[in-house]
């Protein structure tokens, strides 16, 4: 039971840590709002031309934009979470100290990322969404059940996002400099999460592929739940899809981690 208290403390600490960057948070909220505004108008033009595109009506499409901006930091689509710090620790060798700690490396970082994510969801999610609601007609659910279902999808999305970024960070054991892999992960994240365009608008095979990849668990899946596109059995299927990717990628992360830590050579005496 003691270890769970430890992880809870790590998560709380991460939450507090991000909460102290008030100016940076406000600046992030401003950026999300500006990009939300630009994207919302382009989506309106797109849905003017093709009403019902991707199964959304216009107000659902605009809601999708603001949802994406609100979730961007929480599910760390473009990174910026624990991975920078972890890569730095691998590069400097400090990771050896982490491996000595009486805590699981993956769980430790997951707890820290969960705390960060929880803060970002509140700190950077609420204001852009409220602004979007003031300027545009949003299609938000009024029942608490849908919001609750949405939150579960967000938590699963954060898990998948963490699992992907943990793998990316572990690559630093082999490449020393994680920048290249990180850059690729950011590009894939932006494109395949549905951040730039809803994945159900992607044409043909590309659309099917994008919806099957793990990144669709980050933005597309929670958005579809909130927009009321996933209820009953479809909701359970969405959860199963997200959970399967989370479990699979976390397991791969453990395998890679044990391969990586066998490479660690502690120097000095």
């Amino acid at each position: 039971m003691g270890t769970w208290r430890l992880y809870a403390a790590v998560a709380t600490g991460a939450f507090r840590r991000y909460a102290t960057y008030r100016v940076a948070t406000a600046a992030g909220v401003f950026t999300n709002t500006v990009f939300g505004l630009i994207l919302a108008y382009t989506y309106i033009a797109l849905w003017d031309e093709r009403p019902g595109l991707g199964g959304y009506d216009q107000s659902q499409a605009v809601t999708y934009v603001w949802l994406g901006q609100g979730l961007l930091a929480a599910v760390a689509v473009i990174g910026g979470g624990f991975e920078d710090e972890m890569i730095e620790r691998i590069r400097t060798g400090d990771i050896a100290i982490d491996l000595y700690r009486p805590a699981d490396l993956q769980m430790w970082w997951l707890a820290a990322d969960a705390g960060r994510s929880a803060f970002q969801l509140v700190g950077r999610g609420v204001v852009p969404m409220a602004f979007g609601g003031l300027v545009f007609q949003l299609a938000l659910p009024t029942d608490a059940g849908t919001w609750l279902a949405f939150l579960v999808a967000v938590v699963l999305g954060v898990l998948v996002s963490f699992a992907i970024r943990y793998l990316v960070a572990l690559m630093a054991f082999w490449f020393m400099d994680g920048a290249g892999v990180q850059q690729l992960a950011v590009l894939a994240g932006l494109f395949f999460s549905g951040m730039t365009l809803p994945l159900n608008v992607f044409p043909g095979v590309l659309g099917e592929l994008a919806r099957a990849l793990p990144w669709s668990a980050l933005i597309q899946a929670p958005a579809d739940v909130l927009l009321g596109e996933r209820t009953g059995l479809a909701l359970l299927r969405t959860y199963a899809f997200q959970a399967a990717w989370a479990v699979g990628l976390l397991a791969v992360g453990r395998l890679v981690q044990s391969a990586a830590t066998r490479r660690v050579v502690v120097q000095g005496g």
Partner: protein, 288 residues
């Protein structure tokens, strides 16, 4: 007394010349940028990869536009070729500004960790040092990508060329780059005050170029008014580009506004210079 003056100059590490600060700044910029280029070139394979990464990363937003046009024929009444024309011009102008001044967005970091102080004691204009710091040649990737899309647009779109329109094209890109560069500098000046707010700057730089990639008909009138009269981004590409495309201007503006970009660029640069000096004067080192 002459002796003292000479010693002063020796201390500054500069031969006594009557040259202006602008020339000093350019020279410092060139030296620092060249140093960073040489250090980047020490790892050629890595450099090639980051150029490609920059290219692919910026190409992503054009891929998004292509995906949109896979589902529609027009966006805001504009064809894919016309949107590509706007995109290419905005991207090329922004890419140039980003190459020359993109590094200033790290100013807040330098203010926070106190390393700005080391730039203040060097005998070269601070702005030149900050702008040339970590000069990133990889940003050529964005410019290349923008020019390729522009090339595509020039092939696809049927433009009735006149000598004036041909002349306007390079003028547009250079003036646009100067306008974006002044946005970068004003953003950096703002960071003297805000320190931790580089994301606000990103809204106007990256956000600005994203906005200009789409036709003005897509956006609400007030937003278009804002980027015409307040933050004059409309002069980067919208107004001159719509003249080249023979399209009506937003807000019923008169025809001659298409030729204002150089003037707007000069005014923006002057204003950003004032803002920079005010920011630098307000700087207090972190110290302890």
């Amino acid at each position: 007394m002459a002796d003292l003056g000479e010693r002063h100059d020796v201390h500054r590490g500069f031969p006594p010349t009557g040259r202006s600060r602008a020339v000093d700044g350019l020279r410092a910029y060139r030296l620092i940028a060249w140093m960073w280029i040489r250090s980047t070139m020490a790892y050629r394979a890595s450099f090639a990869m980051t150029v490609f990464g920059n290219f692919a990363g910026t190409a992503l937003d054009f891929v998004t536009i292509l995906l949109m046009f896979s589902r529609v024929d027009e966006l805001g009444g504009y064809s894919l070729g016309e949107v590509a024309f706007l995109y290419g011009l905005s991207s090329a102008a922004f890419g140039l500004a980003d190459l020359a001044f993109g590094s200033v967005e790290r100013l807040g970091q330098r203010v926070r960790d106190g390393t700005l102080d080391s730039l203040l004691v060097r005998p070269a204009p601070v702005l030149a040092q900050v702008a040339a710091d970590r000069f990133a040649l990889r940003r050529l990737g964005r410019i290349t990508q923008g020019l390729l899309v522009l090339g595509y647009a020039l092939v696809v779109v049927d433009i009735s060329w006149t000598p004036l329109k041909v002349l306007l094209m390079p003028v547009m890109v250079v003036s646009g780059a100067a306008i974006f560069a002044s946005v970068f500098v004003v953003g950096a000046a703002f960071q003297f005050v805000a320190q931790d707010a580089s994301q606000v700057q990103n809204s106007f730089t990256y956000g600005g170029t994203t906005l200009l990639q789409y036709p003005p008909t897509v956006f609400a009138k007030d937003l278009v008014r804002g980027v015409t009269f307040v933050l004059p981004l409309a002069f980067v590409n919208w107004l001159p580009a719509l003249y080249v495309l023979d399209r009506p201007y937003p807000l019923d503006l008169p025809e001659w506004v298409a030729f204002l970009p150089p003037l707007v660029a000069v005014v923006c640069c002057a204003l950003s210079g004032v803002a920079w000096r005010a920011g630098l004067r307000s700087y207090r080192s972190t110290g302890s």
